[in-house]
Amino acid sequence: MADLTQAGAVARPLTRPRKRIRWNRIVDHAVLITGSLFMVFPVFMVLTTISFEDVDIVQKGLQIGLEGRMAENFHDAMFEASGFTKTITGTRMLMNSLILGFGFAIGKIVISMMAAYAIVYFRLRFATFAFWIIFTTLLLPLEVRILPSYEAIQSLGLANTYTGLIVPLIASATGTFFFRQFFRSIPEELVEAARIDGAGPVKFFIDILVPLSRTMIAAIFIIMFVYGWNQYLWPTLITTDEGMFTLVRGIKQIVQVLSQTGAKIPEYGKALALSMIAMIPPVLIVIFFQSWFVKGLTESDK
């Protein structure tokens, strides 16, 4: 049997049936390419426009093509002071954004991991109650309690501070819920084996649970970093001092400055460059750590 087919294949190598054109596949790719263009093209067009003179942009709007202003516009966006008081540079905003992103992600992970550990791994009557207290916070996003939260920060004197910027954002259960789900998926026998091996709660946490959670921590870190970096409403309220502005908060300023009608030509190139800087770090993180990020995001749904 094997001999026969082999002989046949050798005998007529040129008369193989022509490969069927698979229209289905072509349609699939056409849809995907259209979708990808829909997602990529707007940002691409913003990027190429940055290379144009402000006058051109004011007159003709977004452009495709490559002129010579790209580097200059990015340089201005990073280092030239802007805003109403002309005190804040892109570098400063970038730093504030990084502080918010990292501070929020790290704070959230530390606090929620501790809480989730307490809830899952201890025989504590209070645990279910604590879980519900924490879990209820999922019900009310910051946006619906924005005014009282603002009042609280004001009365604590935390306006225009990093603490006031970061800590209230941590007051929701997403991270705790995440880690709780993950801890519950770890085989029960592991903690039993560790107990027989003489590991107490602290040892088990440090020796076993944290190393086991490494990918989960990375995934949550990415999600939380992006979430923190992209915060808008809260920073808008809590930071009135321009020196505390983040890049995303700066967008509001940009829009307002561009909307003013004055004698000067609005600095569109610089504004677009700033918006690009505001998206580059989170976009790079999401692209480079794609698999962790996707895992973390979809795992939360279980």
Binding site: E192, A193, R195, I196, D197, A199, D207, I208, P211, L212
Partner: protein, 349 residues
């Protein structure tokens, strides 16, 4: 090395469910005792109480001379092998085995020596630097064993350690575990739902059903003299044939037409459960018993005939050299190996 004593040990969950009814057992030093029963019978709960992973609701547990009810698992000087092995996935094989010793404050050299020794015994020498995910199922099983050995425990606890392995490996590991336990002379409690494992490995078997001990005995005792219909049905494959018969005039009547050609016992009840092991029944005879064969199963070494005697299901196991066909088949029931059980309570008479 130690003997283990359970004195009216009982487990009741907060929701009122009684997982283990008060039970008393004494496990002599160096013996391997198998807890066997269907799932949910309480065998794992009992083991976990011995390990200290589950609180004991009532009663007293001694390992050696000490009452250990309130001791932490780590302080009971035990070692446990879990069904899914529970290896620490982020640690190498060597670290996995040495973790318990490290927590007890053993020196690096001591840990190293003990791990090497365990690896030698279990043929794991080449794998010490690997992670569990890089090992086959059988190798993981060995690492779990190794983790137990390095602790030099007084008591080994096994929770269905072989059920995640394929049939061939299971047979091999069964022998390995048994010989290792005998060589080390450590007392062991072994939980399984597999009656073959129970029969082949145990010094003594404890059969559990619905949180209650049905019978304690050596494999031979359990097999030859099952204390109840539950034990009779659970131990042995194919299980013992159980026929319900009426006692009429000193004779056993299966139905209005069929008599059971064995002498009836002297009983107060007017019916009885009569048990025959399939391999105790022979082909041929005087025609007093006729098996209506419906299906013949070839197992290689033996051949199983499934059918009806009277109108009750009945199976017979015959040697590979004997021949039988579907249809009526004359059989001979053994006169000496007959088991009688109470018709309602199922207890042995």
């Amino acid at each position: 090395m130690a003997q283990v004593t359970l004195n009216h040990v009982r487990k009741t969950y907060p929701n009122g469910h009684e997982a283990v009814q008060p039970c008393s057992v004494e496990i002599p030093d160096g013996e391997l005792v198998v807890l066997v029963g269907p799932s949910g019978c309480g065998k794992s709960t009992l083991l976990r109480m011995i390990a200290g992973l589950e609180d004991i609701t009532e009663g007293e547990l001694r390992i050696g001379a000490d009452v250990v009810n309130d001791k932490d698992p780590a302080d009971r000087n035990i070692a446990m092998v879990f069904q899914n092995y529970a290896l620490y996935p982020h640690m190498t094989v060597a670290k996995n085995m040495g973790y318990g010793l490290k927590n007890r404050g053993a020196s690096k050299a001591e840990i190293e020596a003990k791990v090497q020794e365990a690896a030698r015994i279990l043929n794991l020498g080449d794998y010490l630097d690997r992670r569990p995910s890089q090992l086959s199922g059988g190798q993981r099983q060995r690492v779990a064993m190794g983790r137990a050995i390095v602790r030099d425990p007084e008591l080994f606890l096994f929770d269905e350690p072989l059920s995640n392995l394929d049939a061939k490996l299971r047979n091999q590991m069964r022998i390995e575990i048994r010989s290792l336990q005998q060589r080390l002379g450590v007392t062991a409690v072994y939980v399984t739902h597999d009656q073959v494992e129970a029969m082949t490995m145990a010094d003594r078997i404890i059969v559990l059903n619905a949180g209650r001990i049905e019978q304690i005995g050596t494999p031979t005792e359990i097999y030859e003299h099952p204390a109840s219909t539950f034990v009779a049905g659970f131990m042995g494959a194919p299980p013992m044939n159980l026929l319900r018969a009426d006692i009429a005039g000193g004779r056993l009547q299966l139905s209005s037409q069929t008599l059971l050609p064995v002498p009836a016992p002297q009983l107060a009840t007017d019916s009885v459960l009569v048990g025959f092991r399939p391999e105790d029944v022979r082909l041929g005879g005087d025609g007093s018993a006729v098996l209506e064969v419906q299906i013949i199963e070839e197992l290689g070494a033996v051949r199983l005939l499934h059918g009806h005697l009277g109108d009750q299901p009945f199976s017979v196991s015959i040697g590979k050299d004997e021949h039988a066909t579907v249809g009526a088949q004359i059989i001979t029931l053994p006169q000496d190996r007959v088991h009688f059980f109470h018709p309602d309570r199922g207890t042995r008479i």
